[in-house]
């Protein structure tokens, strides 16, 4: 029995067996081109179509959205998404592309949307017939998110939206957007409202999407401009002026600390199959094989005591975070209920970044070689992973903002605003 299996309730155990069976029969097709390392770096239509098909199949099989009510397109199970995630990861399936929909839009709509909106939009979100994006950040509103200026004005029974969003991941594929905007200019927080709005159907009319290029050379995020986009009040979540409270649900889930478990199938990417046997871009443990394969000072990096020390430190940090997630579920061993959950995004993103930096140090001279160089270790995926890690320490509330939140909400030190 696996470690995870031993903890299952009867419902979970049955469901796990079902997942295993389905996954063992499900054939993963070979992608026609290299896949990116995560969903927010999907650039091309062929990548998106390949991944969309996988999500569709996983949803049809009941492995995506399992814990949501049946009316909302879910499977109406209890605590089963985690099981599906574990099994999809163990089966080394590709990642799910509709990550902003699954991770942020779905829980927010579930907790705050009108019944009709939930029933219309959520099934298509889970199946990936509709791709979603998140329109929060603006040029003048990043860490200070409540400063958003995109404005909705009521005209007749319609809301008319004008403004400019930026860093909007997946907007270039998106059918829908969760949108934080302003309906009252006199109140910073209470002047915010939360809508869901169509994107794709409005392109070339009231919505324009312009791609931005990342430091890696990849695309994946965009600027989005609204010029008189009209929506009905059905698409307002909660009451007018409650946008900031609704946004907290989104942010909590974005940081992995919300009540709904985000469907996730891990991430077999092209990088996972690299050009060297047994090597892949993964967590800290994957550094061991990398070190054994990397020459250093006449031996290998695995025979260098300094590199060994650094690798062990990474592994210990990663294991600490894993055991922390386990301890967070044992009430008697936690003095403050949010103390560990609120750390998870910060810790995971910094481990990933330091892991990438260490992988490049292990590779040595060869770490100068990038994607597309035939001599690059692991296909040049580690330098790419290292650079992409900044996306994670910046997006979803920067590491500095996470430390403010922890210092203030958990440790009770004076607020910085």
């Amino acid at each position: 029995m696996s470690e995870d299996q031993k903890k299952d309730t009867p419902e979970q155990a049955d469901f796990r067996a079902y997942c295993r069976d389905w996954l063992s029969k499900h054939e993963t097709k070979t992608p026609s081109s290299r896949l990116p390392q995560s969903a927010i770096e999907i650039m091309h239509t062929d990548q998106m179509e390949y991944l969309r098909e996988w999500q569709y199949e996983a949803y049809q099989a009941g492995l995506v959205g399992c814990d949501y009510p049946v009316e909302e397109g879910g499977a109406g199970r209890k605590d089963c998404q985690l099981i599906a995630n574990q099994e999809m990861q163990a089966a080394n399936k590709p990642f799910l592309p509709n990550i902003l929909g699954l991770g942020m839009a779905a829980p927010t709509i579930h907790f705050h949307g009108k019944q009709g909106v939930k029933e219309n939009l959520l099934p298509r979100l889970f199946s990936c017939e509709d791709v979603w994006c998140q329109g929060f950040s603006e040029p003048g509103a990043g860490s200070d998110l409540a400063n958003v200026q995109t404005f909705a004005e009521k005209k007749g029974d319609k809301w008319v939206i004008n403004g400019h969003k930026v860093w909007t991941s997946l907007a270039h594929f998106a059918d829908w957007m969760i949108l934080l905007l302003r309906t009252d200019k006199s109140e910073k927080y209470d002047g915010l409202s939360y809508f869901v709005v169509p994107i794709k159907s409005e392109l070339g009319k009231s919505v324009e999407v312009r791609p931005l290029i990342k430091i890696t050379g990849e695309t994946g995020f965009n600027e989005v401009f609204f010029e008189n986009l009209e929506v009905t009040e059905d698409y307002l979540l909660e009451d007018l002026g409650k946008g900031w409270q609704v946004a907290q649900t989104t942010l909590l889930h974005e940081r992995g600390a919300g009540p709904m478990v985000t469907p996730s199938s891990g991430g077999a990417t092209s990088g996972g199959s690299g050009n060297q046997e047994g090597l892949s871009v993964g967590g800290a443990y994957s550094l061991i094989n990398l070190a054994k394969a990397s020459p250093r000072n006449g031996r290998t990096a695995a025979d260098d005591p300094v590199m060994r020390d650094k690798i062990m430190e990474m592994i210990i940090r990663q294991e600490g975070s894993k055991q922390g997630a386990r301890r967070a579920r044992v009430e008697g061993l936690c003095d403050h209920p949010m103390r560990i959950p609120l750390q998870s995004k910060l810790v995971m993103s910094e481990i990933r970044q330091d892991c990438g930096a260490l992988a490049m140090e292990i590779e040595g001279a060869a770490s100068t070689l990038y994607i597309n160089d035939e001599n690059a270790p692991v296909g040049g995926e580690w330098p790419l992973a290292y650079m992409n890690s900044y996306g994670v320490t910046i997006a979803a509330g920067t590491s500095e903002i996470q430390r403010n939140i922890l210092g203030e909400r958990v440790l009770g030190m004076a607020k910085s605003k």
């Binding site: 600490g320 922390g324 044992v330 910085s416």
Partner: protein, 382 residues
């Protein structure tokens, strides 16, 4: 084997831990501890062994020393997880006592097959205290390194860095004979035993080196036969590492909470100093590290109880991370108290000193990582 999801930390363990926490909060608040152990700041003071014997008597009555003793030896036969929770609390209180060393002794005795091992465990369950005399002058933690010789039933030589030597009734002595390493029980009062106190930094402990001058030992003191001592110590070692890590986790949580509290009351530039991110963010980093160390420590304890094949690996992770947080929490706790933090009168130095001692005990952070690398990566090419 696999571990239970909750680290086997159930209602019984929680009750034991909560009672211990309350007991120490009531009976050894930090101001009382400071009065007890820090009354004499003299740089040239004689080495001291200061502790509250009445408090210890109550602790024995509460049963802490019987927790890990098997039921057949008159103990509670509970898990290392339960003991870990108690040690974490004693670390939080920086308790000066023979608790940790007696617990360590019990772990070693549980691995000893000779009859005297069971007898000594029974005596420990009845209130006797013991400490390990297993370290040579080099400070090597390798079980084969030894400065005490066994020949013709007589011990000669010196055991170094013996913890709480002046608080305990008996020592578990590692001795080398031509047939290998043996373990013997030697009472502190035995003829030929000379306890030479060390002057140490930590005010909450005492330490000594012990000279053995023609000390006679008999078969009813034999714990592990010559050739079996190292293996017994090796099997107990993950437990010893876990318990020291637990002490550091408790102490680091005290350092975190105490420094956060100061950052919430001390004002400069018309603001609480915790407003400044140069204070706030490092304290968050301390918290994250404490949480990792604590999670790793309970994982190590649970592994010791339920999956011995992984015990050493997880124990080294825990000891390494806990040593790192001990160093970092100590550093920030003094710095963030400013001038007052640099005074004898402020409590933080008591914990900084205990933590430094803990970091070294049974091997520091980088030593643990080197050992872990041997497990996970295999030995280094020559």
């Amino acid at each position: 084997m696999t571990q239970p999801k909750n680290f086997a930390f159930g209602e019984d363990e929680k009750m034991l831990r909560d009672t211990a926490r309350k007991f120490l909060e009531d009976n050894l608040p930090t101001d009382k501890l400071h009065k007890l152990v820090a009354s004499n700041p003299d740089l040239y003071r004689e080495p001291e062994s200061i502790w509250d014997r009445d408090l210890w008597q109550q602790i024995v009555e509460l049963g802490w020393t019987t927790v890990i003793v098997p039921e057949e030896n008159g103990g509670m036969g509970m898990s290392l997880v339960a003991l870990t929770a108690l040690v974490e609390e004693s670390g939080r209180a920086a308790l000066p006592s023979p608790f940790l060393v007696t617990a360590n002794s019990s772990l070693v005795l549980r691995e000893c097959s000779a009859a005297a091992g069971g007898r000594l465990l029974e005596e420990i369950a009845g209130g006797k205290t013991a400490s390990l005399a297993i370290t040579p002058k080099t400070g090597s933690w390798t079980h084969d390194d030894c400065d005490v010789a066994l020949e013709g039933g007589t011990l000669n030589g010196t055991a170094w860095f013996v913890q709480e030597a002046r608080k305990v009734d008996s020592f578990i002595v590692k001795a080398e004979s031509s047939k290998g390493i043996a373990l013997y029980e030697v009472p502190a009062q035995a003829t030929g035993v000379e306890i030479v106190p060390d002057t140490i930094v930590d005010l909450t402990r005492d330490q000594a080196h012990i000279n053995f001058n023609q000390v006679k030992v008999s078969s009813d003191q034999l714990l592990a036969e010559a050739g079996e001592g190292s293996a017994a110590l090796s099997r107990a070692e993950p437990g010893l590492l876990t318990l020291v890590a637990a002490d550091m986790c408790g102490a680091a949580e005290w350092q975190l909470q105490t420094t956060v509290e100061y950052a919430r009351v001390r004002e400069q530039f018309n603001r609480q100093i915790g407003f400044f991110q140069a204070i706030k963010h490092p304290l968050v980093n301390v918290m994250i590290m404490v949480d990792h160390a604590k999670s790793l420590t309970y994982n190590a304890a649970c592994a010791y109880d339920t999956e011995p094949e992984h015990a050493e690996k997880f124990a080294r992770m825990a000891k390494s991370r806990a040593s790192d947080v001990a160093a970092y929490a100590s550093n920030r706790s003094i710095q963030f108290h400013g001038g007052i933090g640099f005074t004898w009168e402020c409590f933080v130095h008591l914990y900084t000193k205990r933590q430094k001692h803990n970091q070294i005990l049974y091997g520091d952070a980088s030593y643990q990582r080197a050992k872990l690398a041997d497990i996970l990566m295999g030995p280094m090419a020559a």
